[in-house]
Symmetry: C2
Subunit: 436 residues, 2 copies
């Protein structure tokens, strides 16, 4: 059967991996897809690199716009990244009636609504399994595998760099800054790690999962995004003493008042499988009303794991591109006219449990003052540690775990607690999820 022709934009890590895996597993993939999938043209600014990777197996060009207009190209794979030229290329490809496969979470989280609307109008597919959690087929699970369910929440470790750093901080008792340096040396963190360590990358991925879980538009601008740069190693230690691990979690939850959409360091009971996801691995936990909690685990980044998702999309498009657009899987899991613009809850209205750490003078009445403030805000305490003061010290740490309460109540309580004369400095606040 005639091959389907792919135009590849960008031959960096993932592009190179895609080229390699398509070639190595060509026979296996053809046996599945029913026809060969071939990269017929590659565009990259670095022509030498493109020639070297492809080894003369296909045309190379430095003009990406020529690829998205090439009449021989059936599917455009966009692996350039970012919101700039990548957006123009994707929009142009759609305009030219090409199907698009992309790994670009930043682009979809910020411009997905516009892109999917254009694709819908043109009757083409925009597939994006590789945009979230690398090789784990979580988009397919959410959009198709769990389609019977009213999805209640999704919680994921969806950034390998930060999970590696947190694992190392716990294992070795080191500070964030020290581990970051080590991670950069090993290639687990970029020279400018901001997108990873400040939670932006995780928030892009979470935004996409939230949209397809609940049938809402991409709402990245309303996400609460908090990274791990301010996380203190002492809190990892105290959390462990209480039976918890700290992970950078993306959480999106449906509530009667709106959708929660938040990325932040989170305490998770150590007995949960997801609490034991270590190193650069990713995992996503999905709670559906019928199926209960299901977990998806694997490599969230890297050349071949990401290529695995890109090529799975290519196989899907190869199968589906002849079917009428009305009978394909909708981009956002729900039919376009059934997408509902639910409100995203401001953080102050979010309800969860909390970990609070305070430095206090070791004298009578302090704990009574603190617990009174919490009670006044209707915050009930689930567990508490009060450390004995160190040798020669007059101050000590108090660690509190609360039951579920509203963030704004905690804000108010923390302001009052910090105003107490016996409390030193700021209260450390982390959120806690039971994930059941």
């Amino acid at each position: 059967m005639k091959a389907i022709n792919v135009g590849l934009l960008g031959i960096g890590t993932v592009g190179g991996g895609t080229f390699t895996v398509l070639k190595r597993n060509a026979e296996e993939i053809t046996r599945r897809a029913g026809r060969p999938i071939e990269i017929s043209i590659v565009a990259d600014r670095n022509l030498d690199l493109a020639r070297q990777v492809t080894g003369g197996a296909c045309k190379v060009t430095d003009d990406a716009f020529a690829v998205v207009s090439d009449p021989n190209v059936d599917i455009v794979v966009e692996l350039i990244g970012g919101y700039g030229v990548a957006k123009d290329l994707v929009m142009k490809a759609i305009e030219n009636g090409k199907h698009v496969v992309t790994a670009n979470k930043a682009l979809l989280a910020t411009h997905g609504n516009e892109i999917f609307a254009a694709a819908q109008k043109k009757g083409v597919i925009v597939a994006f399994e590789a945009a979230v959690a690398g090789g784990i087929p979580i988009i397919k699970a959410l959009r198709e595998g769990l389609s019977a369910n009213r999805i209640e929440w999704v919680a994921g470790i969806i950034n390998g760099t930060t999970n590696f750093i947190l694992s190392e901080m716990r294992d070795k008792g080191l500070s964030f800054a020290d581990v970051l340096k080590e991670a950069q040396r090993l290639g687990y963190a970029e020279a400018d790690p901001t997108f990873d360590v400040e939670g932006v990358d995780a928030a892009h991925k979470l935004t996409i999962m939230s949209a397809i879980a609940f049938g809402i538009p991409m709402s990245f601008d309303k996400a609460h995004v908090e990274g791990i740069t301010k996380l203190d190693a002492i809190d990892i230690k105290y959390a462990e003493q209480l039976g918890y691990r700290i992970k950078l979690l993306g959480v999106t939850k449906r509530t009667p008042e709106g959708v929660e959409l938040r990325v932040h360091p989170t305490l998770i009971p150590e007995k949960r499988l997801i609490a034991n996801v270590e190193g650069a691995m990713n995992a996503v936990l999905v709670k559906g009303d019928a199926v209960g909690a299901t977990l998806y685990y694997g490599k969230g980044a890297g050349a071949e794991p990401t290529a695995s998702a890109v090529i799975a999309d290519l196989v899907d498009v190869t199968r589906l591109h002849t079917s009428d657009p009305e009978h394909r899987v909708p981009h956002l899991a729900f039919q376009p006219d059934a997408v509902v613009d639910l409100p995203i809850l401001p953080l102050a209205e979010v309800q969860t449990a909390y970990y609070l750490r305070l430095r206090v003078e070791d004298k009578p009445g302090v704990l009574a003052d603190i617990t009174r403030i919490l009670a006044d805000q209707s915050i009930s305490i689930d567990a508490m540690i009060q450390k004995e003061p160190g040798e020669g010290e007059v101050q000590t740490d108090i660690i509190l775990l609360t039951h579920q309460t509203r963030e704004k109540n905690v804000d108010a309580a923390i302001a009052k607690i910090e105003a107490l004369a016996a409390v030193q400095g700021q209260v450390t606040r982390l959120r806690l999820e039971e994930l059941q």
Copy 2:
């Protein structure tokens, strides 16, 4: 848009769950599928039960053959189970041009080749997500999500009853027989638990996964099937001392000489996530050449988790039934003309690592004899425990872990070891998988 009509065969646990979830999530499912999915007729021998569950919402009959011939029925859902009348009904439904959704692993593992050939000829879909690991979308992951990969192996905890029993044996230090009684009392095990505890149910599911992972026909009759009835609590304890958990694992692996297809109690390093899957939960680990190891975890049984998979198939069929059969996902993941009948390896040729427990007289030279026998069979030792004899005893336990070797070498070594005068009774042999 016009509803798609479902004829439901069997309104027991899963049938009832399917009816309930379809009704409760009707709006959500229609938003995804693009049109309503409605059960128009239910067949069950127990008409009273059928009337009670459906509450007059659809027709009920005790004639299942009337349903598979009903011109108003687009999709037949078979939830009767077994190989008898269920097979006749599925074949008749296909003959009548109906698409079929089934949760019947026994039927597919034993008659799948015939059923899929008939469906292929007739151009209808036979979908079976619910047949393996309940609500976990593992069939979709294997057939579609990982389609870029040459799959190397699949290993799964795919029987909740046995995993519950093993978890309890470990937690409470009880024997198999005692825990089985408790499991039966709690409803986790059936009155006749043979299919579960002897590994047959797991082998049915493994057979299906093996076929779609490697593109081979269903080969249940060649599977090695070993349950947990002979597992001694002492081996769970010794395994734990060596850093392992014992799980009933279904393992299928591609090797140069053929495909391994085996179900047996297996030692797994306790650090692996899958070693920590407790109670009645299921989990499947899939190793692909590009993606690496990915894990899928969730409830493997129960009314609503299984219904979740049945309904996901209904949504898929609703979407795909208008597309030409050549562009659908092939039943066995690979195009029918690309299914290859690879040989299934006899157990004697399987290579894995082993756990051996021996009862020996505590006297000089015994260990030398044993290690000499192992060396003669080219079996190298990875770890060993020799217990001190108990107070007043002259015998003691030796526990050995071997490196990878061939089963027939272990068979030969065990025969020679058991012939030693200082070795009492039989050698206990369990298999060990690193799962990396």
